[in-house]
Symmetry: C2
Subunit: 191 residues, 2 copies
C-alpha cells in the first residue's frame, strides 16, 4: 500500500514520463521501497484512474510524451499519509531465522550464509554511501530538480531528511555486518 506514496514522493520532484519514473524510482526512493516495473506501470494507471496523478501530453520532436504529475488530491493524499500512523511490516527475517537454527546446518554452509549476509550488506552499504555522497555534492538529478527554486532553509530541510534516511540504512548495514562477523567467530568456537 506504500507503493503509491513512494510514487507520489518521487513525483513531488517534478513531472516525469512513465519511463523516467521507473528509472528514477530505482535510483532514489526505490532504495527504501523496492518495486519492479511490472508493479509501477499498473499502479500509475490506477492512480491516474483515482485522480491522484495526471498526465500532460507534450509534443516532442518525434512523437509526443506524457508527463505525469501529482494532482492536488494526490498531494493531499500524500500529506495525509505522511501525517498518519505508520504501518510496519511484521517481522520476517530469513537470515535471523536461519541463524537461530545453525546447529542444523553444515558449519561450512552456516559460514556461507553469514558471508553472504556480509556481502549483501556491504553492497548495500556502498550504494547507500553513494546516495549520501550525491546528496552532499549535489550530483543527484532527482534531488537537484527537487531543490530548484527553493531557499537555503528549505534546501537544508529537504537534503537533511534524505541524508538522515540513508544514514539510518547505513547504520543498519553496519550492525548487520558486525552481527554476521560475530557469528563467524561463534561458529568457529562452537564447531
Amino acid at each position: 500500500m506504500s507503493l503509491r506514496y513512494a510514487l507520489l514522493a518521487l513525483l513531488t520532484s517534478g513531472p516525469m514520463t512513465g519511463y523516467e519514473i521507473s528509472r528514477r524510482f530505482q535510483s532514489s526512493v526505490g532504495h527504501v521501497w523496492h518495486a519492479p516495473d511490472s508493479q509501477i506501470y499498473p499502479e500509475l494507471r490506477k492512480m491516474e484512474a483515482e485522480g491522484l496523478v495526471e498526465a500532460e501530453t507534450v509534443a516532442e520532436p518525434r512523437g509526443e510524451k506524457r508527463f505525469y504529475h501529482p494532482t492536488d488530491s494526490g498531494l493531499a493524499a500524500f500529506r495525509a499519509w505522511m501525517d498518519s500512523p505508520l504501518r510496519y511490516a511484521l517481522d520476517r527475517d530469513p537470515a535471523h531465522l536461519r541463524a537461530a537454527y545453525f546447529e542444523w546446518a553444515d558449519p561450512a554452509a552456516a559460514r556461507r550464509s553469514l558471508l553472504d549476509h556480509i556481502d549483501r550488506f556491504e553492497d548495500l552499504r556502498v550504494q547507500w554511501q553513494e546516495q549520501i555522497d550525491q546528496i552532499d555534492d549535489g550530483s543527484s538529478p532527482v534531488l537537484a530538480r527537487r531543490l530548484e527554486g527553493k531557499d537555503a532553509d528549505e534546501r537544508r530541510r529537504v537534503s537533511g531528511y534524505k541524508r538522515f534516511a540513508y544514514e539510518g540504512l547505513l547504520a543498519r548495514a553496519d550492525a548487520e555486518i558486525a552481527w554476521a562477523q560475530r557469528g563467524l567467530g561463534l561458529i568457529d568456537e562452537l564447531s
Copy 2:
C-alpha cells in the same frame, strides 16, 4: 516460502499438537518469522499432504490428540534449506521511506512517527531481551525440550545460536532507536 521451514524448525524440538504449534510458534520462532494461525493451520495440512510432517494420534483422558512431528523427508528438506542460499526480501521500509520526505509532513506528525518508531523498537527490545534471559536461565519450554538428552557441547551450540539470533535483533533495535532519536534532534534543528 520460509514459513514451512520455520514450522519445521519448531517441530525439531519435539512432537506437538496443532494448537501447541500455533502458541509456541508465537513465542519462539515467530519472533523472526511472524505468521498468524490462519496461515499456520493450512500450511501444516499442506506439509502433511507433501509428507514433510506426520501426525500421530494418541489417546487422551478425554478425546484424542494429533501430535505432529517432522518426517525423515521433512528433516531432509529442513537441512537442505539450511544449506541453501538465503533469499532476502527486497527493501521495503515504510519508516525510512517516510523519513526521507519529512519536509512534507507536519513537524509534529514527523516527531510522532519517530516516537512511534522508538516505542515499537523499545517494545521489541524488551521482548527480545526476555527471550535472551529465558535462554540464559533455561526457562523457555521450547528450548528446554530441545535440549533434553543432549550433551554439554550440543547444548552450548543450540543455545548459542538462539542467543546469537536474538542478539542481532537487539542490536538492530538499538540502532533503530538511536536513529529515530537523532531524527528528533534533526526535526528541531530544521523546523
